[in-house]
Every structure is written in structure tokens, then in C-alpha cells.
Symmetry: C2
Subunit: 501 residues, 2 copies
Amino acid sequence: MPSHYERLRNLIGTYSDIDRAGQVLDWDQQTYMPPGGAIERAEQVSTLNRLAHEHLVSDEMGEAIEAALHETANADRDTDEHRVVRHMSRFYTKRRRIPAEWIGEWTRITSLAQNAWEKARPASDFAAFLPHLEKIIDYRRQYSEFFAPYDHVYDPQLDYFEPGMKTAEVRAVFAELRPAQVELVQAIADRGRPVDDAPLHQAFDIQKQWDFGVDVVTQFGYDFTRGRQDRSAHPFTTFFGLGDVRITTRFLGDYIGSGLFSTMHESGHAMYGQGVSPSLARTENIHGASYAFHESQSRMWENLVGRSRPFWKAFYPKLQKTFFAQLGSVDLETFYRAINKVERSLIRVEADEATYNLHIMLRFELELDLMEKRLEARDLPEAWNRKVKDYLGLTPKNDREGVLQDIHWSAGYVGYFPTYSLGNLISVQLWEQIRKDLPDLERQIEGARFADLLAWLREKIHRHGAKYEPVELLRRITGQGLQAAPYLEYLRTKYGEIYGL
Amino acid sequence: MPSHYERLRNLIGTYSDIDRAGQVLDWDQQTYMPPGGAIERAEQVSTLNRLAHEHLVSDEMGEAIEAALHETANADRDTDEHRVVRHMSRFYTKRRRIPAEWIGEWTRITSLAQNAWEKARPASDFAAFLPHLEKIIDYRRQYSEFFAPYDHVYDPQLDYFEPGMKTAEVRAVFAELRPAQVELVQAIADRGRPVDDAPLHQAFDIQKQWDFGVDVVTQFGYDFTRGRQDRSAHPFTTFFGLGDVRITTRFLGDYIGSGLFSTMHESGHAMYGQGVSPSLARTENIHGASYAFHESQSRMWENLVGRSRPFWKAFYPKLQKTFFAQLGSVDLETFYRAINKVERSLIRVEADEATYNLHIMLRFELELDLMEKRLEARDLPEAWNRKVKDYLGLTPKNDREGVLQDIHWSAGYVGYFPTYSLGNLISVQLWEQIRKDLPDLERQIEGARFADLLAWLREKIHRHGAKYEPVELLRRITGQGLQAAPYLEYLRTKYGEIYGL
């Protein structure tokens, strides 16, 4: 006689199987699918999504959760049993609040909006996108109402990506972050010692970039027997299961930074996935604690490791050898400064560490204004440009390099942007703890030894998957909630040294 | 208010979506999946299969079929409506006869049997595979009983792959084929003018093989905007939809025949899929009339086109240029004879056109004996070797090159083998008709012009998908049922000329 917990695990397993199958179809679509496959693929993905949702919110699932909650009520709070059941219960409850008809309509709206955005962006035609955006904002407000009462209308948006995170909390850390980062960036500009990143902008053979990146992430600990790398227009990581976590990368022939750092970034996501405890296979807990926690891992490997001096002490000689014509006469310090160049720019995805959060904060503030109805969608371009001026001192020439630059809103993602910055903050909070626990860390990285670092991450973070909500997990590890100060301190130290502030 | 037919099409569409999604997962498994993905992938595929089956045999589907049958009772027999409904009705009725518990058990049995076979074959250890084979035969007999009463216990096996085909019919054509092919092969051996295929067995760069093959099948008319080619251990074609029909190929570095002809072979399957009428998208009718009809298309492009003298008049100069060191001094006639070398051998997949059917017929006869209980599984090796001696004059050294060589029985495929030979027969019956309708065909092929041939195939065969059952389709096109004589005539003419009989 299987226990209620086992019965629930089977039901979750079926959900996970359908959901992951959808991910395989999506991966294929972004890597290998021929153009002719698009229409039927959309039908297939839509059918799988519908089946997964129907299965998730079924009465059978609800009853199994109830029974398993009861059965595991006295289980140790740190066991899989206790956590998996409660995680699923929250997930079920949230999804069950959303009417099936709303989801059908929402899918249609975002699909049309994405098509419209894909045309509107290159044409810099905000007016063409506006009716879609208005509909999306309207539907996001409806979405929040499914979760009323709430402390803030934005909370349900945020909660979708950061379970348990509150708008007030994000506002508080951003309020501390904003003036300090604006000031730092201004100080760098005022210092008048610009960094030259010309060495990065040369012709770099793509196969050699690929091989170098593979070598780096293999040394990090990304396991290619349980993953693989392919190319796609936009780099991403995808989880078909704990034994198959794949990354994609994009390479540019005339700029080495793009492929190099996106490979490291995605490997950070992927190692998180590969490190989840096998006991959590075929559950919704394989996804990690939250989007921000995931981002903390990708940013850690990309920035705290990959843009650090110790890392390049170990790897720069090899990079120079690989690209001798381009870098043979560029010394380590010049290269290190080039990959850490700070420049106020208009495009988020090209932003450096010092300016990145400013791009996020302005989006977060606009999302709040939209959700609170203090701003109408039609007034977004003006509001956008005003904030860009305030935070970055720049003015977009057009909406293409302004309000239309990101795909997120067209895809219906409201509440997603802040997770990027929260990921940055968490990465440094964790890093502080790691440096305490591994005093030798810097020397290890200089020696291309990442085993202790990865083991620490596995033990403290990865293996738990989504057993803990993000703030709870952060507290378990660091004893602290979300904080701005460590990240600010990190930026000031790193860029103070580079720019001689 | 949607019609009953539209309602049914939606239900079929959902089935097709799930089923095709499973195919994407299978394709990925055979091409790109890292080893670590195997366990979770098996769960995902199993879940999709279960969902597809449940959806297929649901009461809702049954009711929709009933209503649509009634609604389309007076529709023209050649319309999609009429055919799609009736095709689905037959498919539904067949699958509904199989108990769900039986399917669950069957899946388990074949999964274990395949694992056992994968170990038993290299070890030539029939005893280790025997218990699995016994179970499979037992279950195949049970399967037939779900379809009792039948004319012959083998009919339900055959019908799974060749809808409407009867054992008696296959027996009759094979009875005509067998002595004539044995005699032909003996005459070739007795003639004492062996063909030298050493030119094919040299070192051939795999990228160049790939490029040459892609060029050939592109000229055939395989549309890479609605398909792609990848590598896999065993070449196959897969249908994700009418807009995404993919092939895989395997290349050997020391033998050019393998990659060359398997690419042409798979493109034949794939062009069939790409040619199905878009009005049949998301139905079960996209699969073509039957396995044999599909094989008729792959064999036609591989053999009737690809191993013909006119084809190589067009393509040999390019092949020589591509592999000048290997083939520069090999003239067209020598090459043509080499790719058509007849040799009695033990392994089916390496057999030439003249001996291939003999391999199939012996398997068909053994399957009949097993199903009729005139042969027990434990006596298979002896029975196998006796037939190999009779038909091919050879004796396997061990079961690895004998009864254990094929994957089919371990996968539970009984009734599949005959479709290979039926495909050969149909390919030549069609070819006779094509030569009447396109008197200029040979000259067109000499000029690398395949558009008329492909247009003929599309018009007469491809666009119909599975609207007609195989024998009905063959009759519509040729006015005849299945026949052995045209294929025998083809073999005698071709090999009579090559071997000077």
C-alpha cells in the first residue's frame, strides 16, 4: 500500500514529465528546429501546457496534497517529505486560483503581443505595440486580483518568480542601492580615467571561443555527461531532469566577451540544476529556490569568479595562447580592466556590473507605477526616458533603444526584472559567507581549483533545490535577510581599485 | 457551432500533439541527449505514451467518432472528412481492444527484453535472451486474441503495420518470390564473375560524405526548410509534423556505401512525409498508407534511383571530384557494378537487393511458426540456421550473426519484417507505372532532374497520407494488387545485365 506521500510523488512526477517534455520541445525550437516546424510546434507546446495545467489543478492532485499534508504533518521540517508536500501545496493553491479560461486568453494575448513586439522593436514603433501592452497590464492587474487580499498589488507578480518575497522588501533594498550606485557610476565618470576595451573587440575564431568556454566550464565543474552545450540566438539553461541540464551560448565573431561570459553565466545556472539532490527528481523542487537564487549562481560564476583577477591569473595565459595574434601583446591587467569597463549605456543586456542594477530598478519602478495605476501604458516611453536620464544621464534616441528593448513585457513577465538585481545582491551575500568558510578561496581560484567552491554551493544551496523559499534559504546560510550593503561594498572595492577612486 | 467532424479533429489534434511530442523526445534521445538523461527521459516518454493512449481510447473520443461517422456518412468517399473519420475509427477500435493493464505490462516486458538483447547479442548468448523472447511471443499471441476471430493468428500482427493486409496474401507473393530469388542468387554465384567493391572500401572524409549526401537529397527535393539531418547510431526518419520531417544518417569513415545510401533511403521516407496534404495536419493520416508503402518510397530513392546507372551518369563525376584520390581512376561502370554487388551474406542490414528478400522471408516464416505454435522460441536458433542454409547456402558461426542479429523481436515487433519486402515489391510496381506516365524518366534522371518524379509521387501517393489503406492505394495507382512478378523481372533484368546471365 503506497503512502499518501508516494501517491502524491507519482502525481507530481506525471506533471513534471509533461512539463519537462515541453521544455525539450522548447529547447529544440530554439536550437535545431527548421523554420517549417513553427506552426505545429506551437500547437504541441500549447497542448502539453494545457495537459500539464489540467493535471496540476485536478481534484485528484488536491486530494493527494491534502492527504499528504496530513500524513507528513509531524515529519521533520527539513525532510524532503515535509518540504515537497508543502511546496507543491503552495504551487497548487496558486495555480488553482487562476481560471482556466483566463489562462487560455492570456496565452493568446501574450502570443500576439510577442509577435507584435518582434515587429515593433526594429521599427521603433511603440504605438503598434501599445494596444498589446495595455492588454497585458490589464491582465496582470486581473492576475493580482486572483490573489487578493494582498499587501501590495505587485506582490502576486513578484511571488510568481520569488516565492514569499514582498514588494516592500525589494523597495527597501533598492532604495538603499539606487543613490549609492548612481553616485558610484558618476564618480567613475568624473574620475576621467576611461578603460579601453578595444582588445576585446577584435576578430576571434568562433570554434576556438567555443573550445575555450567548454574548457572553462568543465573546470568549474559543469558535467557534460549530464548536460551539453548548443548555440541559440539567446543563451539559456534548460532542465530536462537532474541528469540532463543543458546550456546554450551565443558567440560573436568580433567580440569575445559575449560568448565567454554567457557560457560561464549559463554554467552557473546549470551546475545549480545538476547539484539538486536525486531524491527530488521528478518534483517541482528541481528548479531551485527562486529566479533570484538561480541568478545568484549564474552571476557568481560569471562575475565574482569569471570577471575576477584571480580567475584570469589562472586562465589568461591560456587565452593568450589561444588568441595570440589578438591578445599576445595585451597584458593581464589591461585585459582585466577591459572586461570590467564601466560605461553608462542604454541597453540592459550590455550593461556592466556597476550600472546593471540601475537598468533593473527603473523597470521595477515603472512596473510598480503601472500596477498601481499611477502610470498608463501610453505614457511609458516618456516615463522611461525620464528615468534613464535620472539614473544614467542618457537619452534614448528612439524607443527601440528605450522602452521597447526587452522581450519581458511582451511575454507577459511582470515581476521578473527585479530578480536579476536580487540575484546580484544574493550572489555577494553568499560570497561573503563563502570567503569566511573557505579562507583560501582566492588562492584556489588562482590555481584553477573550483572543487571546494562547488562543493560548498552544492552542500549549502544546490542539493536543496526548492526545498526552502529564497529568503529562508539565505537566512539559513548567512544568518541575514536580503541586504544591499554587501553588494555596494563589493562594487566600491572592485571599481574603486580599477578606476582609482 | 463546430461540426462533429471539427470536434473530432480537435481531439485527434490533441492526440497527435502528444504523440509527436513523444517523437521529439525520442529523436533527441537518439541524437543529442547526454547519457545522464536516460532514466528521466524514459519516464517522460512513458508518461506521454500513457497520456496519448488514455486520450485515444477515451469515451469522449469514441463518442466524437460515432457522431462524426454519422455526420459524414454521405460525404464523398475521397474527401478528407470521410477518410479521416474512418481511419480514426479503425485506429480507435483496434487500440480500444487492448486492455490498459496489458499495455503497461507489455511496455515493461519489451523494455527489459531490449536491455537483455543489447547484452545477449554481443555475447552471442541466446539462452540469456530466451526467457524474454518466450514472454514476448506469449504476449504477441495474447495480442492476436484481442482481435479474434481472425482468419490467421498472424493477421493482427501484420495489420498493426499494414492495415488491411492478410497473412494469406503475403504468403502467396512470398511463395512466388522465394524460389525465383533463390535461383537468381544461385545463378549469379554459379556464373563465376564476381564484382569487386574494393573501391567503396577506402578512407572517405565524413564531412565530404555528409555534404555530398545533402546535395543529392536536396536535388531529389527533400526540403531542408521543413526538415534537417543529424547523425545517430541507426538512421531513421521522424515526423514532428508536416513542416518538420527530419532524417538521421550514419557515416563510416572506411566505406562510402553506408552513409550514401542511407541518406537517400531516409530522404525517401521524409519526402513522403513532407508531401502529405496540409489539410491532414495534426491527424493520424500524416503517417502514410503503411509501413510497406513508406518503405516503397525509401527503397525507390535508394535503389531504383540511387543504385541506377542513369543516376550515377549524373552524379558520378561530382563524386569523383569530391573523392579524387579514391575514385579518380575508378570508371563509372566499375563503380556502378560495385554498388550493385550481389553476395550471399548473413546480416540482413548489409544485404544487397537480390538477396534482401530472402532474409525477410525466413524471418516471416519463423514468425508464422512461432505464432501458430509450430515452433517454440527455444528451437529458434536451429530453425533459423536451417533456413539460412536453405536460402543462402550459409551457416552462421554463432547466434550473434544469426538469430540475435535484429532488434525487432526484442522490441516486440512481430509482423514488421514482411513490410520491408512488401516495400520492395510495391516500389517496383509503382516504378512500372511511373515509367509509363513519364516515358522520359531515365533521361530526366541522367540530367539530375527529379521534379517530375517527385510531383508524380506527391500527386499519386504522398498527398493522400493514410487516406487509403495500402492495397487500395496500390490498386488506385496501378490497377493491380500486390504482385511479385514485376520485382522479379526488375531483379532479373538488372542483375542479368551486371552479371552477364
